[in-house]
Symmetry: D2
Subunit: 480 residues, 4 copies
């Protein structure tokens, strides 16, 4: 479960939620609960918009769900028949509040609320086109681009869903969307299905969410995943599907299974928890080692460690205790004290590792610094050997579809061979899951997951690389 990783290696992206109520539920409260369950997908900002008979009230801000929403704020959102929620990790600039979602826009054709998880590869082109036509942008969000594209089409056609369907012809990249008009709730997923999006029911009400764990938190029933390319429209009368963009194979991000999603979610019919155990089992087969105990880095390495233990027959142990109270507000120590930073969050369990040959499972290596410190903890606690196994292939390429991977010059795997990495981190051996195996962890035969961050081969064309901050400045300096 990404958000709780001790290592903060990768920034997750976003989680979306929507509910169309037919049972007099408190839709603001349902959204609040669901965003809690999706919090691991984005910890920087969050928001909820409630639709009461066409009148929309929204609240969003920088902060975790419990920081942004309290009793008073929920009360002000009021009652309604529909709601859309969003959690976000924003990656651009520090004007993060302006990037918080859901996006709420006003228009003569009616207001629209939009929540988006993903990233477009042609966002800059579309944006330039729109701006040359007179559009102005308040944020650096792709979501605003999507909103413009839908609005533009809406002027040419008879309904919001038709507008979405037409706009999708122009959008290239990853997008799982929940959209709310005065009378309709719409879910849409890009034709490649890069990001998850599912559907459930609570009594007679319809719910959309990035992951099934959000449905569970509400006591709602999982119905199915939205298909790649599918648009589902819900209103008072009916619930119908537009499938003109369907047909492509699902290229979902395999890293959702490895790290991003919550282990209790089921995505594309496959349990995330089981996928991680399977990743551990493949590692055991591919990189066997003589050892006394298998431990995982909390929390996301634990499932794979259990899988490795079961496959290898080496006993599973608890190697680390994580301090549950160290949160975002932790005061950063000075340089001298910084070396203790990992130790404050994580303590090695001497009882488990002293005098033992340890297999240490983690889900990924990004810069390698934290890995090195964790290995130090184990050595100081008396581990005689540390064999590190990583439940994914080495990161060597950027993600264009919504995950904020470090820039290449900071990725350890771009700078070193595996032997050098092992030496750098201080382990006795190091093994990564192969690209072939990572595609098998979901246990879906014939699947074509996106593994671009490992291989550099992406399911669709991607733009040439350009650092985000350069891009920002370029925009800023043009006008005279």
């Amino acid at each position: 479960m990404g958000g709780t990783s001790v290592l903060n290696k990768l920034n997750d992206e976003c989680g979306v939620f929507g509910v169309f109520d037919r049972d007099d539920h408190d839709v603001a409260f349902l959204s609040y609960i669901a965003l809690y369950a999706l919090q691991h997908r984005g910890q920087e900002s969050c928001g909820i918009a409630v639709n009461d008979d066409g009148v929309i009230t929204a609240h969003k801000d920088v902060g975790l769900v419990p920081d942004v929403f309290n009793k008073d704020v929920l009360a002000k959102l009021g009652k309604g028949q529909m709601a859309v929620g969003h959690v976000r990790y924003s990656t651009m600039g520090n004007a993060s509040r302006s990037n918080a979602q859901p996006l709420y826009i006003r228009h003569i054709k009616g207001p629209m609320v939009l929540a988006h998880n993903g990233a477009l590869v042609n966002a800059r082109e579309l944006r330039e086109e729109l701006e040359m036509g007179g559009a102005i942008f308040h944020s650096t969000n792709d979501s605003e681009v999507i909103a413009y594209m839908i609005t533009k089409e809406r002027l040419q056609c008879g309904s919001i869903e038709e507008a979405v369907e037409r706009a999708m012809k122009h959008l290239r990249g990853a997008y799982s969307l929940v959209i709310m008009s005065p009378t309709k709730l719409i879910a849409a997923r890009d034709p490649n299905g890069f990001r998850p999006l599912c559907m459930g029911t609570l009594d007679n009400s319809t719910i959309f969410a990035s992951e099934s764990c959000a449905l569970d938190s509400l006591g709602a029933k999982f119905v199915r995943d939205i298909e790649p390319g599918e648009i589902v429209v819900v209103d008072k009368e009916e619930e119908r599907s537009i499938k003109t963009h369907c047909g492509h194979k699902c290229n979902m991000c395999v890293f959702e299974y490895v790290y991003i999603a919550r282990p209790d979610s089921v995505i594309e019919g496959s349990s995330v928890h089981e996928a991680r155990q399977r990743a551990g089992a493949y590692l055991a087969l591919q990189h066997p080692v003589q050892a006394d105990v298998v431990i995982g880095v909390p929390d996301s390495g634990l499932d794979a460690a259990l899988g490795f233990a079961k496959q290898s027959g080496i006993p599973y142990g608890v190697g680390f205790i994580k301090n549950r109270y160290v949160g975002r507000t932790f005061i950063q120590p000075t340089q001298v004290q910084r070396e203790n930073a990992v130790r404050i969050k994580l303590n090695a369990l001497e009882a488990t590792v002293r005098g033992k040959r340890v297999v240490l499972i983690d889900d990924s290596i990004v810069r390698g610094t934290t890995s090195a410190r964790i290995v130090d903890l184990l050595k100081e606690a008396g581990a005689t050997e540390v064999h590190m196994r990583i439940s994914s292939p080495p990161f060597r390429n950027p993600c264009y579809f919504g995950v904020d991977v470090d820039s290449r010059d900071k990725l350890l795997a771009c700078r070193m061979s595996e032997e050098e990495m092992a030496r750098h981190i201080g382990v006795d051996s190091l093994g990564f899951l192969s690209v072939e195996d990572v595609q098998k962890i979901a246990g879906i035969p014939g699947s074509e997951f996106c593994v671009g961050c490992f291989t550099g081969n992406y399911p669709i064309d991607v733009p040439g690389e350009m650092p985000k901050d350069k891009f920002e400045q370029k925009i800023s300096k043009k006008q005279k």
Copy 2:
């Protein structure tokens, strides 16, 4: 000084500020100080945007200047060569944060920051036109309409100032603007000059502000008012004026002198403090009375009371003590306790009024409820007679130019004759300043102030009246 009125009768509107630095001042801090001085013009939200060599950083939020800005926030705004600030009272909906200014928009032609005081009479028309052309709106602000209009023109012409000049052909109504591009700071005032806007210098730097008191707070020198219709452009090289829209007589809002502006400001060459004293003097001439003491309702009635006292020869006295600590966070008492609400903010000074015939000066009567309670306070403190004098004519009409007057059915002067009002409020006599006299208080011969809220005759055509909330809902419900 409106914002501190005990009576909260009228909601003020907005204050704008801009600085183009040539002396290495801390522009964020200058803005902070200036917004403090302009706080009386808007207490609901505020914001500052800083431009550092084309990179813009902004912060705005709901709250007073000291609530929204602290040391950390100012530090994050960083250093820069230009800044724009804004204080606002927002009148629409409760999504007030999205209405906070300055507006910061991104565009391929460069980012733009815009701060606006005023209101357009053709905002709805322009908005509909823009939306039919594909525009989407994040707020209900007129400012966003203005930003769109400028952007649209910008695509057709060579510079931001030319775009402003071209956009102004389409804008009808009240607007005092401060606009910031990557390299320029621009001030513009509508051709009627409804709202004030002035210019000053601090060392070699140029400053724009709604009122001269903001210049004083910085120790800056007042240079001149921006002319009605004028555009002033400042960049590294020069400072120049575009006067194609000039030529119209100044129709500034006379209520700026009566209530809105700070007494220490000088507007159109005339001291607000003196204007208020003059209003009191005219009242004494027009509505003389035998009395023992003249008192004012703090704070905005005090100056006029002094003027009345001097003109009439009746001694000036301090009739009320205002509790300086009762602010926005005051807990509203229950129904039973509510009658004390005025008393908590204001206490009558028995030593001044007991056994006396009192002339009570206030700047306006809106609903009359608070006036009645204030008169009660005086009676309970032993005043034998209370003669109320109002330093403006009766309010009977809406303002279309940026002041949020109560709806007609709540305005006492729309429902009663002056005699009935006197009886309703419980005073022995009641006198208003005449429309003729109010136009003379600034002491500017031949002036053509806007007195539309008193007479119903406005300097430019105004749209048919429509309640704001209806308008909001109409927008909201359209889309299917």
Copy 3:
């Protein structure tokens, strides 16, 4: 009104409040309102304790009344039949929360709540004695000493009021107390009556407060001042007075009239507002001058200015506009910007002073720095002459009775003659109220106010001077 002084020259001390309800009022809310009215007596911390049938609930914290109390906090205090409130300016150490009042102590003889305004001259002796007997102290408050003394006596006698009466034999100095036991509310004032304390009724309920303005804020009726030395005991059955310590002349602090109390309060039968006007009048007689306008420094100098104007015949004017929004949270500017600090809070009204000979009235001069800056403001605004008149004699001695005067080496009047002071501040002439006249401002013939801070002669013996911080450290370092 001290707390709102722009100059923050002197720290006020404390305000006390108590209510014994017989009408089903909300005693917590009454306390809240009353503390608002007494806020000028102490802005550092505040607290309320509610007694519901012997069960006491209390809340106190550092901050202004609106910061410390909100709806939720008041709700938690609950309903009750008695309440005690306190506002405080604490002068010792930074552990100010531990010094917040009212003091709530538990004891086998029942709990006791105590609120205190004043200072004991024998606090250190009593404290040492108590500590040598085994007592421990949580605070540096004299109040804790008083609580101990009462408790000690309580063990020897039959009732709380008898214990108060016996304890008073040992207490020397200034104390206006409100004390609450499970069933009684008690008010007591030291035999010299250094600090004010009055009594009122709201319907059938009894109220005690430091100043009558607190009664007014509740709509309560003023009954009388508590006599010097008097103890008033209120319980369900009756209200009775213990006068064994009465008989001494009232030596109330004259500075209550000059600066501390709110102008709308009436103390010892004399209106504070009128006393200040009288001070101005005496100044006009004692230090006449040829001038064009009389102005006061807001807010506490305004009343005296009006008195000076009336006596002298020189017109009264508004010389300064105070920014009502600049509060405690104002960000302190850097060294360079500091010179503007006064200007931000205060702006001179050029319309009033340009080209004029100005009489400037203030209530006191402490260090002189702010006075000098204010005079600068007037000169820059065009005043041709500035004649400063101070409505009290020069400060040259410490106060031992609850007002925190600066240390002698910082008091301007200890370092300079009046001529030197005038030159230092930059005024054309300077005049102080004489010690004789200041004793007459309350208009109470034969009064023997305490004027020790002006003369060095105190109504009772005072200890040798010792800087507070030294005292603190001495305590701290002793134990081995």
Copy 4:
């Protein structure tokens, strides 16, 4: 690890910390880090007191460590040579801030800071005695009683440590103390050793802490446990031990191993993590069952589950995912929504339990309500059988030594037989660890742990039971 239990079954008590620095460490920051590591011992309030050459600065408040301490607060605590820290769960009244620790008292013999974990059985007697001698109490803390007792003795003897030694003759019950005088840091543990207290070194500095995990978090070395009855005194010159109260066997609370302590702590030479695994293993031997998977209730049931799995040979599985973001600020749902409350914090992993016979391990059953809901979650997720095993004996008696067990009438084990409990909770079988076995889990032969809460037999005499709230009111109502 208690504090993070999803079930909030038992309130933990307190954690203490002290540092005597000889290396120029930042003692406030060290305390902050250590309190983070001890946070699970008390989440209601916390505090730190810093001693800089005899001048003490303290800060404490209601809230978690990250809520109470931030950069500014730590900076204000300043540098020093000693510090004492405390985390607390307070159990009396709502005046919880007054109960926050460390206690900082002033006295002529020097100030003293005291942090306490435990509870005295003769607190009421001592308190009454003290109060009859004139003492007053600010809190309902036993710590204040201890402070008084030490102070009383201090007046009779030559040093603080001698005073502690003499006071201990009068104190009966549980106390692990850290005490700071101007020049000394003292640790003391009651003669029965009810609560843990250990000692470590960081470079040349001495550290005391409730648990060794606090030492680990600082990178400090564990030296040894303080012996039952021992007093350790540290000053500039030396470190010495007073053992006059030593000699009694250690009666440490066995529940420290079961639930309270962090698994990575080592207490009395025994790893908490291993003790819990051993508890699981004993359970497997005592209450064997045919099943497919063993799961634990996060977090405190996980270790025992692993022990059960290893002993029984039944595979270990992850049965629940805990939402790491649901904290104290979670908005309580309405009655209708309340049934989802457990589900929001905890989700059952269908992949692990569907179609399986499940062994469910938890550390205790208090009221049984949450247990029942958790079993429901498993059934809904498809578990075919649920066999519950509890890693401690049934709770049937109060704890007099610092753990806040529910009152008897709410304890399920006081109201039902084990069979009835199983039926009530809805499990197919239920087994508790026996009293004999729980005493063996630490693996210390001949140990005499306190198991009074399970058996009703306590190592020392305890007072007759009296509900705490009754006690409170009794105190409150006495005085007339």
